[in-house]
Symmetry: C2
Subunit: 470 residues, 2 copies
């Protein structure tokens, strides 16, 4: 019997294991997961901490028991793989019961990503959190629960940011204005914390367009979040526990800090086995996710993927890619070689009452490095027919190559429910298929007054940008 070993039991790993076993029931599929959770929706953690999801278990799409019993996968939680030996074709795993040596015919490295540790003093103080794992989520929820019950007793008056709130907790600091930072600002503010968000540069959600970023900042401020741009955090100061966020310019008293300054691929195991990393620092693979070692694959947040616009390797650690590439590897292992496609760098985020999405290449430096001559246009358009009783504004940023007219990327933001995210689907397709702005503006998109103007905002953006190109 053929043996497929999977290292890491989250999105990529469990997608691969499930697909391989389903397509080839004779395959022996063994998954080593160092923790106790598998196949969990880490993207849901901010909503759990916010209090909208009652239990961590709710985030688990398939339980360990289901994988074992219904899907017949040999899932070994509490097993950390410490070595891959490609010559002997074995992996060694360590658990509370000692070491296991397991031979393999093929192996998938799906070790995911880990939080970047920024160069800030005081990261080890009590009250400093990160949000990368289920147990991080549990701790943050417990913190919120404790502070909430105290806050409800004390009802302190903590200054201007609290003016909208009946009770006020905090103050708390968030270092980093990425997805986690923005989503956690919402989660903490919803629990009546006074929230201070620190962003190193002047551009939160930095892969989104400047126009989107500015819109989100404005909205966060309207919601009472104190956003500090160009804020270089140097120290998380305090006696034992954290008491202040110290930047080059300010010192803001806080009772808790969440550090969300991005992630990096977890590649130590792969490097030790002689696996090549790419320029991005993540594991390099071919289009089938195979590494430089035969029969050793890598997928998900530890690996690169080719960008649909540039064709070059990129590191975009997000859930859909992990699922898709994991599934493709499973299908390949089961006998049907499957590529699983590239990445467009698509992402979506909700921030209080607005939503935003981005895809492709928007940044001009990045576009120029890839050989394009970028041009960008941002438009505001009604989200529904102007005469329709409901509706808001969709702000669309579109970037194209001046020479070819090719759509390179875009970014959208709207009120929550006005469709910035779902409307981005059309842009993903345009970016993936390499169409020009003129071709894109000819797309026969759905129209009815409750959903858009006759020209959907994305088409209007293409029309306006097209006008600047012609």
């Amino acid at each position: 019997m053929n043996t497929f070993v999977v290292i890491g039991g989250d999105a990529a790993g469990m997608s691969a294991a499930s697909k391989a076993k389903r397509d080839d029931p004779d395959l022996d599929v063994i998954v080593f997961e160092q923790g106790k959770w598998v196949s969990y929706g880490a993207c849901g953690l901010p909503y759990y901490i916010k209090g909208e999801i009652q239990s961590l278990e709710n985030l688990v799409s398939v339980t360990p028991e289901e994988f074992r019993e219904e899907r017949d996968i040999d899932l070994r939680t509490g097993h950390k793989v410490i070595d891959i030996d490609p010559d002997e074709r074995v992996v060694t795993a360590r658990s509370a019961d000692g070491e296991t040596v397991q031979d393999y015919d093929s192996v998938l490295i799906a070790t995911g990503a880990e939080a970047v540790t920024p160069s800030i003093d005081g990261l080890d103080r009590e009250g400093v959190y990160t949000l990368g794992s289920m147990s991080d989520g549990k701790e943050l929820r417990e913190y919120v629960g404790r502070a909430r019950s105290e806050g409800e007793l004390q009802q302190p008056d903590r200054g201007p940011a609290c003016q909208f709130l009946e009770t006020c907790n905090g103050p708390v600091g968030i270092v980093g204005g990425g997805y986690i930072g923005v989503e956690m600002a919402e989660a903490l503010a919803a629990n009546d914390f006074e929230v201070y968000l620190f962003q190193r540069g002047n551009h939160i959600l930095k892969t989104f367009s400047e126009a989107t970023s500015e819109t989100v900042v404005e909205h966060l401020r309207e919601q009472g979040v104190a956003v500090y741009l160009n804020a270089q955090v140097e120290v998380l100061d305090g006696e034992d526990a954290v008491e202040a966020v110290v930047t080059t310019d300010d010192c803001v008293p806080v009772e808790m800090v969440l550090v969300g300054t991005g992630v990096r691929p977890r590649t130590g195991l792969a490097e030790a086995a002689g696996i090549t990393l790419g320029e991005t620092g993540a594991i390099a693979t071919d289009s089938y996710r195979e590494t430089n070692l035969a029969d050793v694959y890598a997928a998900g947040d530890c690996a690169e993927a080719e960008h649909v616009v540039t064709g070059e390797p990129a590191y975009v650690p997000l859930a859909l890619t992990a699922n898709r590439h994991g599934r493709a590897v499973g299908q390949t292992i089961a006998g049907t070689p499957t590529e699983g496609g590239g990445v467009a760098g698509t992402a979506a985020v909700k921030a209080f009452d607005i939503e935003a999405a981005r895809t492709g290449i928007i940044d001009h430096d990045e576009a120029q490095k890839a050989g394009f001559d970028p041009i960008t246009e941002t438009i505001d358009a009604n989200s529904r027919a102007g005469y329709y009783p409901e509706g808001g504004t969709v702000r669309v940023t579109l970037t194209a190559d001046r020479d070819s007219g090719r759509v390179l990327g875009g970014s959208l933001v709207s009120e929550y429910g006005e469709g910035a995210v779902h409307r981005s689907h059309a842009l993903v397709a345009a970016v993936t298929e390499g169409v020009t702005v003129d071709e894109f503006s000819d797309y026969d998109l759905a129209y009815a007054p409750p959903f858009n103007t006759t020209w959907d905002p994305v088409l209007t953006a293409a029309k306006v940008l097209g006008g600047r190109l012609n």
Copy 2:
């Protein structure tokens, strides 16, 4: 000076006039419109009748005065063109002041569509309405207003369909379950009418998938609309005014009937001028919308357009195509030949608390006629992450060609606000670009828990259909 004559002042006509004049200010642009309204959003009429839009003027995007004064277009309302003479290159228009003969260098026929007259007796009775024009909309709104004030006085008890309503008007009949029929069911029910909807076949919204259609029928019934399927309406009976809808099986007492059994292209003027019609009965054009007569163009609801899937001429009279093709003709006339793209047959509709969209080719007969071997799959998927506190279900129907795997078309339905319509944008792109279901399922669409599951429902549909093809 060059003279561009436009016949018809709605979407296609005014888009062409505006674009041509904007791109070439030296052009003499003359528009003949037989009515008094131009550039109006007929798609908004159901919402005006419903009472959500207060004035007909709100539906007008640009007023006649703005066209004349700001855009410098010679707009002549109240002028009906009665003849095009391609040899003399003149058109003749009739108005209250007599006849005008106008020479042209190029002319656009944008005469739109008119309501189909079904073979039903009694269409001329009082209380029988259609909804094709602004004045139709005005009459219907007045009817609703009158009935409403009576109903509020009388508060009659009109049987089971009224059980949810505090007051009840009607009963009223709607003949035809297309967009107009469905949107007007909502508009009339919102005004407390007891609504009876009659559909000839068993499939309302007949270009949508059966699964979508069934979902909409079920929802209409939940909302208290009595839907009669396979109902062949023979007579609208009554003394002077209409009093009953008589089908082969039933006789339903009504006080008003709206007939919405589709539209046909208004082609009399073109035919008389020797212009060729296509097999669909609409005006045949090339990809630049030029007819068989040199410098005579046709666009919008009176003309054909090439279907992006089949490449063959199709008749899909909808607003976006009219706008897009009108604009393309304007650009061509102004010196930049522009095709304006084909049609995918995309459409969207809101029905009470659900929304639906469709695109491409779904019907198997139609697919087979175009040389495909169609296969269809329908799936239900969560509209947001399963653990997210809000959300509903998106039902996606996807049709592909068995041999090539090419996505031919799709249909989606969800609760209103759960994104069936905006999610269809991705499908329009897939259909337009001719991608396979496997390629489509690899699209890197935006994901975050408040907006979808990791695989957006359209990707899940592609994955499932792909599994049946491989």
